[in-house]
């Protein structure tokens, strides 16, 4: 019987092609919107997570000051000193590596080429906290770190601008007025999640930067790598206690430094994008319901318009259930067809937008299946009422209907 009604439904849809298409337009748009929104939301979340991951996972960033948007007035809190860094590395459990940073900027010069760049003074710990392989050369030696020797590891942007394709290892370039030996070239990391070029950097031993450029031993930023086995929140709490003690902050006074947990940021941003995705999806979902109402509307009109046809069917021996099934199957087939068209359009939208928005392209099987099932369910729900009305018609009245 289902096979019969299926044939009848398909024939009826074929007979009213334009109307059928208009009927399902709402579903088409709804499904396309839901699929596109969910997929793009996931792509965005993925992108954000990737950006955050480039900062290093399980990394704490410690800075003087009270963090974003706070501590406007008063004298600037002091930077950290090398002993703070040492204390964190020695006294806190769960720390894999500590990397102090002292930043400066200056012009790098090699054989007549100039390039203005960031100079990052740190230790080998930096490469442990957020792994960054070299394309060639080596990291610092303990002796170079201890003595603050003028050696540098350069980012790929700096390399390209100063050397083009010429060999750089073993050459001596000038940077901010001092000359230093190039000992390593870093792999390309690309843009950070916040738009900056992470490869536009020259990395030197922190002591070299402090002694020859900043002229003090201040540390503006400490990166702490946290062991996977420990919770970053707990390590953060221990560091807070240690630093409060070392910086003589007592009682109820606020911290004059802040600790940034990249994992926490990652989680926050992810949950924000997820929330946004859900909201936009809900809006798209509403259009699905509107589409369903559209189907019901047209099906009701169709039942009225085809009253005579229903009468003929009843007269030649269709039982009520067959008429009900015919209209129901018609609604379901229609909405499923609409769903399929919607899936294709949604996928095209995803491809287009991921190219325009430079988002990674993902094909989310789950949402496609769910959207399709929902479109079928909408056909059942909104097709039932018109179908029941058709089935309950009296054949004599239906035949007489003009």
């Amino acid at each position: 019987m289902l096979g019969t009604t299926f044939i009848l439904a398909l024939r009826s849809i074929r007979r009213h092609l334009l109307r059928s298409f208009l009927t399902v337009l709402g579903i088409v748009i709804g499904v396309a919107a839901v699929v596109a929104m969910v997929t793009l939301g996931k792509a965005t979340t993925l992108q954000v997570q990737k950006s955050i991951a480039s900062l290093g996972t399980n990394v704490l960033q410690i800075r003087p000051g009270q963090g974003f948007g706070r501590g406007g007035g008063g004298p600037r809190p002091p930077d950290f000193d090398p002993q703070d860094v040492e204390a964190i590395g020695k006294q806190i459990t769960g720390v894999t590596a500590v990397a102090p940073q002292a930043q400066s900027s200056g012009t790098a010069i090699y054989e007549g080429q100039n390039w203005s760049t960031t100079i990052n003074g740190t230790t080998n710990g930096y490469f442990q906290v957020q792994p960054w392989p070299l394309t060639s050369g080596r990291y610092f030696t303990p002796a170079e770190e201890a003595s603050g020797k003028a050696v540098c590891i350069i980012g790929s942007t700096v390399y390209t601008n100063l050397y083009k394709t010429a060999p750089a290892l073993g050459t001596r370039m000038r940077i901010a007025g001092i000359s230093c030996d190039v000992i390593g070239i870093l792999t390309t990391k690309g843009q950070s999640g916040f738009g900056g070029d992470q490869d536009d950097v020259v990395i030197m031993p922190i002591k070299a930067v402090q002694r020859r450029m900043t002229g003090n031993t201040d540390v503006r930023l400490i990166l702490v790598g946290v062991d996977e086995a420990y919770s970053t929140a707990q390590v953060q709490a221990s560091i807070t206690d240690l630093l409060r003690e070392r910086r003589h902050i007592t009682g109820g006074k606020d911290d004059d430094f802040n600790i940034f947990d990249t994992k926490q940021i990652s989680d926050t941003l992810s949950s924000t994008t997820t929330l946004l995705t859900n909201i936009v999806t809900a809006v798209a979902g509403i259009s699905l319901i509107v589409g369903g109402i559209g189907i019901m509307n047209i099906m009701l009109v169709s039942v009225t318009e085809r009253t005579r046809e229903i009468g003929i069917r009843l007269a030649i021996g269709a039982v009520a259930n067959e008429v009900l099934m015919q209209f129901l199957v018609e609604a379901v087939v229609l909405s499923c067809l609409g769903g399929l068209i919607g899936l294709v359009l949604g996928q095209l939208a995803v491809i287009l937008l991921s190219v325009l928005g430079q988002l990674p392209f993902i094909f989310d099987v789950q949402i496609n299946v769910i959207a399709f099932l929902i479109s079928g369910a909408i056909g059942v729900v909104f097709g039932f009422f018109p179908a029941r009305r058709a089935a309950s018609l009296n054949p004599i009245d239906a035949l007489r209907h003009e």
Partner: protein, 253 residues
Amino acid sequence: MGAAAGSAVADKAPQTVGDPLIRLRGVTKTYGTGATAFQALKGVDLDIAAGDFVAVMGPSGSGKSTTMNILGCLDVPTDGEFIFMGHHVESLDRDQRALLRRKYFGFVFQGFNLLARTSALENVELPLLYRGDAKAERREMAMAALDQVGLKEWWDHTPGELSGGQQQRVAIARAIATKPAVLLADEPTGNLDSERSIEIMELLADLNKNPGITVLMVTHEREMAAFARTIVHFKDGLVERVEAGHAQGERVG
């Protein structure tokens, strides 16, 4: 060979072995209730033998259409008995009556009532589809029915591409595709010119002779009724009289 009908002449159908195909006894039909109630049938008694060709005549409001609806199992009597092939139709529910229609009845209407934008073949296939026949069988039977009405070559035309007479032929093909026992025709020539009308009547008479389908037809026109073997006259919700049609004499023994 039993002809005929009407309780008044029930005793005139002695050749019929056993019960007639259709038997109405004291059938009444009342529309509405209370003060607005209208009694369309006031106790109709009618017997129709298998193989008969009955024309039902009568002025508007005489109850002939109501009777046809009841005979076609489209409607149920308010009171009285309708026995078809031994079934008490008045006690069957909607779906059971639909199944009875599917199996034993074919319908031809004044307005043809073909599905628009649907080929003649698909129209004829429709009752076979509901009966659940397989595709090949369906096609074969539908084509055979179209052949019987002389429209085999027109199977892929839609009603819009066919003349009125041709449309009615397709409708007849649809009605006989299931090889029904009874063909009910409600003013089958009402929308046709006289030449087409005669063609349709000849077709119905042929179908009555071979394969011997019992034909019940409502008509206003005496010339059309003349094709029948039996003419039943309705008046004021009752069977007024039953007479033999012209075809009576031509009957093959």
